[in-house]
Symmetry: C3
Subunit: 659 residues, 3 copies
């Protein structure tokens, strides 16, 4: 188990470096992350490279037995590059052309940016790639973040047309697939195709938007692969990653493909950020950790772990004593084997002078230092036994990038439309977190896996919400899985759309009609409202979307129950036996507490052991080399009675169980 921190020697007086290293070591850290915003330092003028600064820092770190993760510095670029190539920047959907002075400006479709990237990454990996302190490479930083996953620049338009030509071969094939006869938008020529950017009223063809998202995803995948190849050549045997940013489904990028050539997944874990007054609920964080884990189905690294209040121009929540340590334990329990805190000491200047680190603006040791030091010490004892072992699970929640994209531009109901900033559309994230919460609160270890990576046979239960746009081969695999005894849980609006964005002519749930034993003729989108629902013995709430289920071979397990609605008494969820297996069909979005009721039934019916320790207590099971572990986290400000003893507020307990 490795602990480290982000360290920015360029922001501090060289006279401080040695003391900084000693402070980090005293806390239990053995690695630092360096250089990911330092292009201007390494190439101060075009073609003039200077890596001596970081070489010197790495020498000093090496002297103190500290390892280094090097970040390639392409998340910003030097002002001289922009002056020379003003067209290398992105354009936002509403037409704002990015500029320097901030970050994440470069357009992945820009050839000049690619060439400049090639040069700096080549030189950097040649200069520092064999340094004895080097433990890993991080490509770029939070690639795609802050809306940079989709650019509407002119070079992107040019690239998009080329990409479309490669995909569709002929313009009539494109017209056919997009349904371009709709509103009479039949193209004669690739160069007639516009960008699906800002507009005044009615929007663009959804098939076009879907393709535009795929094109932008491909740009990022290709860009990371491009850097990877350069580094592999110049710095062989050093593991490579890139660090993701929350939340998982915010970008349109297919992250599992981004990581296909990389060695491990890393991401930045901020359970609270900026002016938030409360952290995200713990199942939301757990879902994200599982998402990260699932991208390679492998232990991951937290490249930035919360160590102090963070924000660019406003701040918020102060974690009570214990909670920073608790978040650290949660990240490890869910599958991390390396943790880098963000950041060692708080910047005195710049856009992140309010992003507090382990230390504040001075060098005084802080409560955060002591809390993390204590937690590291406690963990170090047990973590090495399990962190590199597989995370055990009999249940998997399966996600799908094409459906992520679909629900971004066609949210179906205002309940799935949630856009906290101009570039964020996170309805899918929240819906997935809600489904995940049902299993998480019942303390059932649950994988989150993309549909193209999941090995269905490994699981007793497959949970598949928001699977509207289908992949025919995956549907076949699902059918086979259920036929052979698997349990599939489908959500509303399943199975009714083709990859080219055409609706299928069958009624919902489309290709799953027979497996689910149910059909839907009527539905209502209920926006942000909440209505009553009932299970056999319990009452609950449903949200967002209500399908009026007509069971054919299935039997109902939940019913709408709101007297405001004429469909009170109509089935809302069903279960169907299909050959040796079972299909649950949930025709609505359940409130988290109702998700718990649903999963309680499903787990019981499918012999999955579960428990309920309160809505703020989480228990994770891990299998170590020597022991099994039960890790229990009290995510509340109250004492929690567990067996015969209490868990203090924001405390955790790691229980060793003989194998």
């Amino acid at each position: 188990m490795i602990f480290g921190a982000a360290y920015y020697p360029e922001q501090w007086n060289p006279k401080d470096w040695e003391e900084d290293i000693l402070i980090m070591k005293s806390m239990g850290l053995s690695q630092v992350r360096l250089a990911e915003f330092s292009w201007a330092l390494m190439e101060p003028k075009e073609g003039k490279f200077d890596f001596s600064f970081f070489a010197k820092v790495m020498d000093l770190l090496h002297k103190h037995d500290m390892g280094v993760i090097l970040g390639t510095p392409t998340a910003t670029f030097p002002p001289w590059l922009y002056k020379k190539y003003p067209s290398i920047v992105q354009t936002s959907k509403n037409g704002i052309v990015r500029t320097i002075g901030t970050r994440r400006q470069a357009c992945f479709s820009s050839l000049e940016f690619k060439k400049s990237t090639e040069r700096i990454v080549t030189k950097m990996s040649q200069a520092l790639g064999a340094h004895p302190s080097l433990r890993g490479w991080q490509i770029d930083n939070e690639i795609g973040h802050e809306g940079s996953d989709v650019s509407y620049s002119n070079s992107a338009l040019v690239g998009f047309r080329k990409w479309l030509k490669t995909k569709y071969k002929t313009i009539s094939n494109l017209n056919e697939n997009w349904g371009a006869s709709f509103w009479g938008l039949v193209y004669n020529d690739w160069n007639e195709i516009p960008l699906p950017a800002s507009h005044v009223a009615s929007g663009f063809n959804p098939a076009m938007i879907q393709d535009y998202y795929r094109y932008n995803s491909d740009l990022i995948i290709e860009y990371v692969s491009f850097q990877t190849k350069i580094i592999r050549k110049n710095s062989p045997n050093i593991p490579i990653t890139t660090n993701l940013y929350p939340s998982p489904f915010l970008p349109v990028t297919e992250m599992s493909r981004v990581f296909s050539e990389l060695d491990y997944v890393s991401w930045d874990n901020y359970p609270v950020w900026g002016p938030q007054l409360e952290p995200f609920p713990h199942p939301m964080v757990a879902m994200t950790l599982q998402y990260v884990r699932g991208l390679k189905n492998h232990p991951y690294t937290v490249m930035e772990q919360f160590s102090g209040q963070q924000g660019h121009d406003t701040l918020g929540y102060l974690p009570p004593p214990g909670q920073i340590g608790l978040w650290l334990v949660q990240a490890i329990a869910h599958g991390a084997n390396q943790i880098f805190f963000f950041r060692y000491r708080t910047a005195l200047f710049g856009q992140e002078q309010l992003c507090y680190g382990i230390l504040d603006h001075g060098k005084q040791l802080t409560h955060k230092y002591f809390e993390l030091q204590k937690t590291i010490t406690e963990l170090q004892e047990v973590a090495d036994d399990f962190v590199d072992e597989p995370y055990p699970a009999e249940v998997a929640l399966v996600t799908d990038i094409d459906n992520v994209r679909n629900y971004k531009h066609q949210p179906l109901t205002d309940g799935l439309r949630f856009e906290p900033t101009a570039f964020a559309s996170v309805g899918y994230d929240i819906e997935i977190a809600t489904w995940f919460a049902g299993a998480n609160i019942l303390n059932v270890n649950t994988h989150l896996i993309p549909s193209d990576l999941v090995d269905l046979q490994k699981y007793k239960i497959i949970i598949l919400p928001l699977y509207t746009m289908i992949d025919a081969r995956f549907v076949e695999r699902l059918e086979e899985y259920v036929r052979n005894g698997g349990c599939l849980v489908l959500g509303y609006r399943a199975g009714i759309k083709e990859k080219n964005h055409w609706m299928r002519p069958e009624r919902t749930p489309g290709v799953f009609q027979e497996m689910a034993g149910v059909t839907v003729e009527k539905f209502e989108a209920i926006g942000k409202e909440s209505y009553k629902i009932k299970f056999r013995f319990f009452r609950g709430k449903c949200n967002k979307f209500c399908e009026l289920l007509q069971p054919t071979t299935a039997k109902a397990i939940a019913w709408y129950n709101d007297s405001k609605k004429f469909y009170k008494g109509t089935p809302a969820a069903t279960v169907n036996n299909y050959h040796a297996g079972k299909v649950y069909y949930i025709g609505t979005s359940l409130a988290p507490e109702s998700m718990v009721l649903l999963f309680r039934r499903i787990f019981r019916e499918n012999q999955i052991p579960f428990s309920f320790l309160g809505e703020k207590t989480e228990r994770i099971r891990r299998v170590g080399k020597l022991w099994n572990y039960e890790i229990t986290l009290n995510n509340s400000s109250k004492y929690k009675l567990l067996g015969f003893s209490f868990l203090k507020p924001f405390a955790y307990r790691i229980q060793k169980i003989p194998k």
Copy 2:
């Protein structure tokens, strides 16, 4: 009585066409609307025309005795046209230049667009204008919708300056009329005049904005007239219309002039659309139906009648059983003699794949099909007797386009500022609907008529709210009307502004002071607040604006009654005898329930029979050739006791009464 549906053969496999036609016929439909978005299909390349597709479809329809309404396809244009003339598009107020890929892009000030229109409409009307199936033409589609009623493009600026020169002759005359000395904006030259488009803080001269709205209105009037002349020539004796979109006063266009050369009025009737969780209240829909009827004071066509949930990327309300049929009955009761449903079958692709039709994405018959089929059958029996007869009314609510425009850019109170999207300003609509609701809920047949079309002598009561900007000749006519025994109901802020946007020097109600017998020195704009008011025996609520009335010869009939306000006890509404007639003056905006109280009094005092059957029950009286009719609609989810029998939820009853 004719029933039909929008049909898009270009979106379906030709093998389906015959079956489609049979399904439509089996439901009771005898006409379809075709082609209104098909420019690219008919002119795939510049100058290369091909009408064989629609000719073939029309042949097939004719074979099955189905009639056709043809739409001219100018609501979108083909990509090649934009590529050739990129300047033909509109610019929105905040500077977004429209692009292809959506709809309604063309700028009516563009000469290239006009030339292209001339060509396609000429060729189309020549090619298809004599087809035996042809029953009507629809010009364009929802012209002016989605903010396209006002464009801020460069060609619009050029056109505006020319229009101003025609209107004002000399620049000093313009300066004088606009009051250009204000803020020192005196123009020396027509070319110095800017567009009243986006700005940072303080806005543009209101007289200038008013003229800009008039100019844009004239562009649309001229454009429709231009197409009409072409069609008349090539397709003589075929009736022509254009279809309006809701809501009535959203555009700045003078719709009564748009229709002056057309044969009948049509519009698109969606009592609920998109993510709305509830439909519009029935008096709002009724008001709109009467607006449409009043534009020619003649039976109208519903060119798009709601037949399924509609939305571009989100959906909402599911109409309970009966309600879709009820909306159909309401449209006919208020004056429709042709109904086209939108749409036959739901598109599998494109921006409207969530706009559900009579059929869903497949060909299975739906509950909507059966409900509409049943309603059509029931109506067919009685409708033919009355639908072509005049809609009887002794009361008219008079609207005025210049006041519509005035309240858009100068809403006076936040209570009249309601802009649900960047291009929608519908405060006037809602206020008019509220006044209309008073009469509607009391089941008094009421016309809605533009001020320039109304024949005052035909009515016992004229209701005239928001009549701030006056036309001197109309004021004379009103005076004569009241002098001779008419009853006039005025709203707050009446009579105080000239057509050139100058305020008049008299106190409110300006030119109506003597007729109303009241004067106003003080007023308060109360925004979205609501305050108490009282009538002699009842209590109510007032909104938006409160004038403190000082009766001169009038007597008070309502008083402010809120102890939060120092003017508690001050008159809020008065009635005045003026020669043989009466003038009511309402110095505030009443809540709908209070509007009912007011109109109850006015109707009683003026011998207008009224009834109250509950706030969700509507009764309309029609006069047929053979019978009289009382049509009663239960717009609620509850059973409604009527006489000795019950009306089911969302059911209707048509009672024949001997003449």
Copy 3:
């Protein structure tokens, strides 16, 4: 004591002028303000000047013994000027290029604008500067208003780079001071520096934004100085001012420097404007009046005093009888010696046809006329004795322009982020008003003074909230002040940031740690939430930001007391004896009522007499030449018992007290 009104003869028929003058005189007015938007009238074509219009008006006014304030007309410019120099306009932060047709368009960085200004101001001051009626000059109008205090035009970028070069000399010095190594934004060249304008996500370096605000402030200071020099030359011995707009800290301009060359301060006093449903609370207005007074520590002029409802396209609150007069009394009580009402008669046309004046659109005398006439008569009797005398105060609240700017772009907590329009950021204003309210409600005369003007020795108590960015010399002066017995009240987040925007390495309160005897390791930003706090005997509420105080030598006087918070019981405010003086440290923002509790304690402990007459009653003490005065204002709609008699709603009492 002088009373006058804004008068726009260019908006009225010359035949009305004489009657207008007589009406104004009959009300008690002896001066008018003229011409501040009349450039187009005085220079109708480039180089063609004509001042005869205003000369004639001034002759007529002189004939009637009326004095004149002349406004230079640079707040708008004629259309021909824009046609000739389209680049003279400002660009807003989000990229909207200003245009003519509104006002405040010109960019202060434009050389063409400066040249044009020189010409018109020279000619105007030559033509009219010796007129016998002339009593004063007003430069421009509300300079910097409506977002025009910061422009993002290209000429501003050019000027900014030059300004930076003058300030920093070398680019490496700039990089060092800005901390440009952050996010790798190291500049090689002045021309690489961008504008901190619109951006997509993460923002610009805060040191850069701070400098950009300072640069824009310098532009306005220089522009006013430039006009001043011209007028001084051509119109010697005539006092010069410029009129400020509310609210005080909305602009980034250093107003004390704007006035350093001017003769007196003036501003525009609107306790309610536009669609506001309630006026600002009286302490907010009082704070602003004291801000204006404090800019020169001298009697000031109200250049626009509310006389009728005001708004551009919507209106709101109707002041009850008495309140317009009361606002007039309050303005004089707080230090005005000249009052000009806005405006004489309401414009019939133009953008301000809803800005009601003393008269409405006609010439009928109004309730406003009579109320103001009565108040003027009552005041005339006593005001001359005290209005030119100093406003006595033992307490000063000190503000600081660099902290105003800092909190605009780095509000720290959502509680300090308040941006009612795109160009308004008024969190600092509201926080200062809240602190001022504590003293104001206790009826303690309190100065508001900028940090660079305050003479500390004159006060028993110095209140210094939001003093985060420090000036080292001012900190020395504060230390000396306390050392010698002064009482200093500091707010949260004091003393921790350098002028170059670098955070200091010490813990909060940074440079004040020893003086305050307290240190802060933990804090929470609580946004718009409100939590419980307690004093020894009272309970209260705190907002926005909570520091967990660790007293070293201080003792606690208030504690957090909210059971939702783990830091319940932790000190929230302290007092420390430091040499002969005392330092209070308030680690949170208190609700107004709790501010009163705090100041009650502070005043008692420091022998400042105070009283509490109810939260809506204000009492001001003035010292006249012959008498002392106690001016009591009833800002409520209720009767107020004072001693043995009642003050009517919105009435005032001026009590003469023998010296």
